[in-house]
Amino acid sequence: MTADTAMLSVRDLHAWYGESHVLHGMTLHVGRGEVVTLLGRNGAGKSTTMRAIMGLMKKRSGSITYEERETITLPPHRIARMGIAYCPEHRGIFSRLDVQENLELPPVIGADPLTLDRVQAMFPRLVERRHSPGTKLSGGEQQMLAIARILRTGARFLLLDEPTEGLAPIIVKQLGEIIASLRTIGFTILLVEQNFRFASGFADRHYVVEHGRVVDEIAAGDLAAGSERIRAYLGV
């Protein structure tokens, strides 16, 4: 993937939490229709990269272009309206809204969104529990809800921050199938993941993040050679 044809290009991205400098020149590209993961240890800057792309890091510099438009100075709602949707690590399910309200909360921002019926068909459990308060769902159900609600907005680019974290293996497997199917219907996905085996099932490329910058890039095809390197980076 080269920078010229990328759907999302991040170049020399720096970001700060207060005085603490956490991103030190992240550079990465995601092409249309790709699934790309950010791998790395806790605290490497993966989630911060997501937040910076979404405009949620107040202090950031460098360049982030989405479909060739610069977004580094835009507020989060303007960035979202370009067609980017974000599913945070903490899932962001609202306790004061029931499941149905959570599902229908995000405004439709893109042309040709998935219909509510179609999303509910993908996640039947959310229909059964539609009147429960959002945070009364199990962790797996909350993760499903967090993904389901950004699918019906018409966003074409998804930022998924550690969707498998803390979930049972059976749920992780379901999530893998869902993400793979999202890929086949044309979503572009940037995924933060610590579970490399999970991500290797469907990702096109992997970036390894350390100390707030990309230190290595591994294509899916290089996996045999790459997995040794990844093991070394992740220390597992």
Partner: protein, 292 residues
Amino acid sequence: MEIFGIPAQALYGQLALGLVNGAFYALLSLGLAIIFGLLNLINFAHGAQYMLGAYVAWMLLSYLGIGFWGALVVAPLVVAVLGMALERGLLRYLRDVDQIYGLLLTFGVALILEGLVAQSYGWSGMPYANPLPGSVDLGFMRMPMYRLVAIAISLVVCLAVWIAIERTKLGAYLRAASEDADMVQAFGVNIPRLIMLTYGFGVGLAGLAGVVAAPVYQVSPAMGSNLIIVVFAVVVIGGMGSIAGSVIAGFGLGLIEGLTKVFYPAASTTVIFFIMILILIFRPSGLFGSTR
């Protein structure tokens, strides 16, 4: 007829008065709760904005001949617009600092507003003609017509606001943003604008309460600061940020105040603060507040 050795007429009379006070507590604490929920701001200008509502109603009548019902619509809008200008011009810049700054800023704004009004119209109050003279026979007591209407306006407005927040899409944005504004903004909702409108709406409610209060109490610069301390106690008792809690606590505490006037008049001005202390000890998040 007597109840617990108290003439029934006196009891009903004080309860009715308590409900009227409760109607204002409810409208004011509702606005404070909505503002606190989203902006995390303790809006100390709320009393002054209530006073401003009453003065705008008085000015509309005196200078433009616009009567009570017209003022009931126009004055809250004027107060809301002034509030939104305050949010845009000053409060916005305090979003990321400790909430004490917002409290101090709005307290200062309240003092300035009171001073400006007193400078123009004097500290002593001015009457606002009762738009609905006469009284109604409720069977067990006679009640001034206007006070009954004041209670009804407050009840209807509180109920409408509750429905708007709990049952509409805009209300869902407000509830969600009160929990996690960043997340809602990341969905594409213009949160800075939602904050401005919410602040305008909350202080508009204060302005509305001021209009309704004008015929009951005198229109005076200090009318808000006299009331707002009690209203903050009501908010604490109901639970900071709780919509239903603020309304129920508003009416309930108005009634309790009325009852206290009957049974132990000396305590009537302190009973709410006494209850507040008990709540703070035994249920610090308030009757309807969530711990967060």
